[in-house]
């Protein structure tokens, strides 16, 4: 079985790796379900702000745009990292992965600033049904980004130690799938939470 795929990229070379990658696609499908329920909760509770401030009073387009650009760019640099890996450049891969990480950290910094700011303005997790659903949805995404950053750091250590092998290339490939997925989720948070929250 393994001899069939000699032309395939490194991360597809062993049956183990192929199954890991397929398994990760299934994991992402489960993540889609998780975020769907959170989006549905948000949609149902939209407008139920009780005495707390309205989202249109708090959301600011510039911060949200910066966050979106940071994440979109990090998704792009993550793609370049994979491109470098395909060409066997360990240095290129590590460099672009670190750039991706820094962009992700920037995103996270803005999100934390944003949450702290809203909390000061009186919009906290328990202050209304709307804000609960907002913090859970955006917070779950932020938590995913945080975990992704921690995960990528572990992979960077392994890359430095072992170089690009069957195992490390598979791991980097899988985290790139994860990172692109988080980007897509953010696009929908950007549109359906922030933009619509500012309009309605």
């Amino acid at each position: 079985m393994e001899s069939n795929v000699k032309n395939a990229p490194l991360e597809y070379q062993t049956e183990h790796s192929q199954m890991s990658i397929l398994g990760f696609w299934i994991f992402l499908a489960a993540e889609v379900v998780l975020f769907s329920t959170l989006f549905a909760t948000y949609a149902v509770l939209f407008g139920r702000t009780a005495d707390a401030p309205l989202p249109s009073e708090l959301f600011e387009i510039d911060i949200v745009l910066i966050m979106t650009f940071l994440l979109l760019t990090s998704s792009f640099t993550c793609g370049i990292a994979i491109h470098q890996m395909r060409h066997g450049s360990k240095k290129g891969l590590i460099t672009w992965l670190i750039i991706t990480l820094v962009l992700g950290l920037g995103f996270l910094g803005f999100e934390i600033y944003e949450f702290v700011h809203y909390t000061h303005e009186g919009a906290t997790l328990p202050s209304s049904a709307y804000w609960s659903s907002f913090y859970v949805l955006a917070g779950t995404h932020g938590l995913h980004v945080t975990l992704g950053i921690g995960w990528a750091i572990l992979l960077l250590i392994q890359l430095v130690k072992k170089g690009i092998t069957n195992v490390t290339s598979r791991k980097v490939f899988i985290i790139s799938l994860y990172w692109h997925f988080l980007d897509v989720i953010w696009i929908f948070i950007f549109t359906s939470v922030y933009l619509i929250g500012m309009v309605v």
Partner: protein
């Protein structure tokens, strides 16, 4: 809304009932204990399903809502759908797992006690619901006494049935004949093609499937899934405690979260993260079971 979702479940389930009946139709049914459980599932589940459709009618549901009718309905669905299936599966695959069957006599006794007890327990509860008894009360009125009393008798019947089932495990461990072939029920599916106890690598050679009920066909042609000429080393993971430690930590953090013991939950979650790091850096690639070892194991188990 809930009417629509009820129908979305009910209609395909109705089709499934006919699938099961169609599978049984004109077959040679052997009334062994696992089959009895499977057969008892169908009418019990139909009762639960039909009353489910009644609950799905919005107008009528104003009456049924949160009454014992609902309780009876979901117990009929859940117990017939999952508990009966658990019993059936456990009795059926028991010889594959533990190398001996459960005693049929005790198995049937526990089956009849449990199933009759089940109907005696939950059938009266439909009428309690129609009589207006709400769910989640600790003190019932005298007009509901008789049916509740019958229900209690049935519950003791189920308890006795289960006690006999547990005793049967002990009794069969002491007295049942040990398996020799690995094909305890003259099965049609491939799990019965492995010898019992199943070697830790499962199939020595991966079977090639050429028809429905592949194992039946193989037996007709006097073949087996084992082909000594095609043996190859089998890749297996090494034994490790990592998954169970990780799951134990996750369990404890979930448990702590249920009671909102946040500090404790965080400590355990950090433990989970540490385990993830350990796993990430674990480059244990497993080992191969060599051909000689497979040959020896299979020859011994298959009596070749």
């Amino acid at each position: 809304m809930f009417s629509v979702s009820t129908m979305l479940i009910a209609v395909p389930t109705g089709v499934k009932i006919f699938n099961w009946l169609g599978t049984l139709y004109k077959s040679k049914i052997q009334f062994t204990t696992p089959m009895l459980w499977a057969l008892a599932f169908i009418p019990s589940f139909v009762i639960g399903g039909v009353t489910g459709v009644m609950l799905g009618m919005a107008a009528a549901d104003y009456q049924f809502h949160n009454s014992y009718f609902l309780i009876a309905h979901f117990h009929y669905v859940l117990i017939a759908g999952t508990v009966f299936a658990c019993f059936a599966g456990l009795e059926y695959w028991y010889p594959k797992m533990f190398n001996h069957k459960l005693n049929e006599k005790f198995g049937k006794l526990s089956f009849w006690l449990f199933v009759i007890g089940f109907h005696v327990t939950f059938f009266p509860q439909y009428f309690l619901g129609l009589d207006g008894m709400p769910r989640r009360i600790f003190d019932t009125g005298p007009e509901w006494f008789t049916l509740n009393f019958i229900s209690t008798i049935g519950a003791f019947g189920m308890g006795l049935g289960f006690a006999i089932f547990v005793f049967n495990i002990y009794y069969s461990y002491r007295n049942s004949k040990r398996e020799t072939t690995g094909d305890s029920w003259d099965g049609r599916t491939l799990e019965w093609a492995t010898p019992t106890p199943v070697p830790h690598y499962n199939f020595a050679t991966v079977p090639t499937i050429s028809s429905l009920d592949a194992f039946t066909e193989m037996k007709k042609r006097n073949e087996s899934t084992y082909d000594e000429s095609k043996l190859e080393p089998i890749h297996m993971p090494n034994n490790t405690g990592q998954p169970i430690i990780m799951m134990a930590l996750l369990f404890m953090s979930s448990f702590a979260l249920v009671f909102e013991w946040i500090t404790l939950a965080i400590i355990f979650l950090v433990g989970v993260l540490v385990m993830m790091v350990v796993r990430s850096f674990d480059d244990d690639d497993g080992h191969h079971v060599e051909v000689d070892e497979i040959k020896e194991t299979e020859r011994q188990l298959r009596g070749l």
